[in-house]
């Protein structure tokens, strides 16, 4: 039986080291590196979950993938998207290729925003709109996409509601819908399950799996290990280094995960699924 040819990776990270400008403790001391010599490849049609203890550098890694690090942060190593270094991509082209859902940016303080759910999701179509987008209205195709993703995230019924009147869970789902509306080849999500209750968490997992099945690449940073264990590939990040990356079915990966959390968890199999339980 021949193994199917592995698809060419979408995103290739080689020897990435990042130290953040804000992380310097003083100008005399060298800044503390947040990521050290990270190597990672993301193939299309896969769902990669990045896990690790707090402060491991997961968000920084995700931001590096999305080319969203600060201009003053020190970055060494290469990140190439479809063979082209990230820095060489034009902003507009990159926006069509990659969709981003962040945490710190996630709207917590809705007071200022009178945007409705529909407006927010519609912003996801911005990368596809021509310049001076205010003059270019949404095409019927755009509207179709917006409706479809809103139905997928069960936010269609909220479409006329302003963000400030929504619960945090509803808002989170609207933001997820916005990220989906970009219809990007790669979707990067940082803590997407924040504020979501179990039914919606389950829906998210199903959604991501179907996205991977249809050829999109999804990379998510997750604290919820049980959700992360559904991913195609798990990347374990500890102290800025990748200790292991592979399928959950691989014993090595599971050992690395347990190790990363100081052996305070156990990974067991239950009805064919892997679950992580706290070790008391």
């Amino acid at each position: 039986m021949t193994t199917p040819a592995t698809p060419k990776p979408l995103l290739v990270i080689k020897d990435l080291s990042v130290s953040l400008e804000g992380a310097r403790r003083s100008t005399k001391v060298a800044p503390v590196p947040v990521l050290r010599s990270v190597n990672l490849a993301v193939e299309p049609g896969t769902w990669t979950a990045i896990v690790g203890p707090n402060g491991a550098g997961k968000t920084t890694l995700l931001r590096a993938c999305a080319n969203l690090l600060g201009r003053r942060d020190n970055i060494s190593g290469t990140i190439a998207l479809m063979g082209v270094p990230l820095g060489s991509w034009a902003a507009k082209d990159l926006a069509v290729m990659m969709a981003w859902l962040g945490t710190a940016d996630a709207f917590s303080d809705g007071d200022l925003s009178a945007l409705t759910a529909w407006d927010v999701v519609a912003l996801g179509r911005l990368p596809h709109q021509r310049w001076w987008p205010a003059l270019a209205p949404l095409t019927p195709a755009d509207e179709g996409v917006i409706q479809a993703v809103m139905m997928q995230t069960h936010t269609w019924q909220l479409r006329a509601k302003p963000l400030m009147q929504m619960s945090s869970g509803e808002r989170q789902r609207v933001h997820i819908a916005r990220a989906l509306a970009v219809k990007a080849k790669m979707v990067l999500m940082d803590e997407p399950l924040l504020n979501l209750d179990p039914p919606h968490q389950a829906e998210w997992i199903q959604l991501v799996r179907s996205m991977a099945a249809s050829g999109q690449a999804v990379v998510s940073v997750l604290h919820e290990l049980n959700a992360a264990l559904y991913a195609d590939k798990v990347v374990v990040l500890v102290g800025g280094r990748i200790t292991c990356s592979g399928a959950v079915s691989d014993e090595k990966t599971r050992a690395a995960i347990t190790d990363a959390f100081s052996n305070r968890i156990e990974i067991r199999q239950l009805d064919g699924h892997w679950v992580a339980l706290p070790r008391l």
Binding site: R63, A66, L68, R71, A91, K92, L94, A95, V96, M98, A99, W100, L101, G102, A104, D105, A106, F107, D111, L112, S113, A114, L115, T116, D119, V120, L123, G124, L126, P127, Q129, W132, P133, A134, L135, P162, H175, R178, V182
Partner: protein, 331 residues
Amino acid sequence: MKTTSAAALLFFASVMVCLIGLLVGGGNFQWPWVAGQDAVTATIIGEIRAPRSVGAWAAGSLLGLAGAVAQGIFRNPLADPYLLGSSSGAALAVALCLSAAGWLGADVAGAAFWGGLLAVGLSGAAFAGALLAVLLTVALAGGVAQGTRLLLGGVVVGVVLGALTSFLVFLAPNVLLNMQGFMLGSTALLNWSAVLRMTAIGAVCVLIAMSLAKPLDALQLGERTARSLGVPLGRINMAFIVLLAIVTGTAVAHTGLIAFVGLAAPHVVRAWLPCQHRALLLLSSLTGGLLLLTADVIARWIFAPVELPVGLLTALIGGGYLLWRMRRVGL
């Protein structure tokens, strides 16, 4: 309510208040058509009250637009048009001009050269000062990319330029009254050419701002998310900051410092009709116009023939409405 109906309503209300403004003034209440026979009253209505009322509306709409832009790019509900130091820049420029004129025009003959220049020059100086102060703020913040650095830079520039102005006044105390007179928020001295300038600049700036409204909406989702959507943050911020400087500078150059209009107008619109920036920028502008116009008319009317300072009225009207609104919503 749709944007177009809201805009039409605001415009209609402004026209009504403007008409009332033509009737209100030095105490003699005369219907305009009767007054046509009296040359003095005709001049008063046509050359004093009319440009003043329309001018108040134009200045208010500039400030309303500036306030909405400021609150949009800084994502801060307390932002007002002057937060990048434009007001301190204008005051310093006016003080510099006055002291230079005073110093150079020490004799009457010297003053002749400056006399003509001063009339147009002070407004021009105020405008230039406002723009330069904003430029200084941007330079201090190291570029337009980061909102917090800009805000901080604006505070620093405002304080430093204010101190320089105080020092200048200390050196040449005769400058103080004249400068304060210039900077004191007042719609009393607006003429038709001022109205024309403000309206032209306002119209152009509103259109430009509205065409950049979508990126401003995207910015509300956070700087990183906006970048990920392909919004050229640097260029958008730069465009809006330049717009803010021009609009605020124009308003300050013609009416001095009128507080609260820029701060309150966007909130009034949001409280009444939550909307995206494309509508918000236009409606905020119209609301600002209506607010300052109403304040001006009341300032002239309530204790006629004595006039109240218009800034007092804008604070009372704008602040009062927001207070009432907050209580109703139960904040």
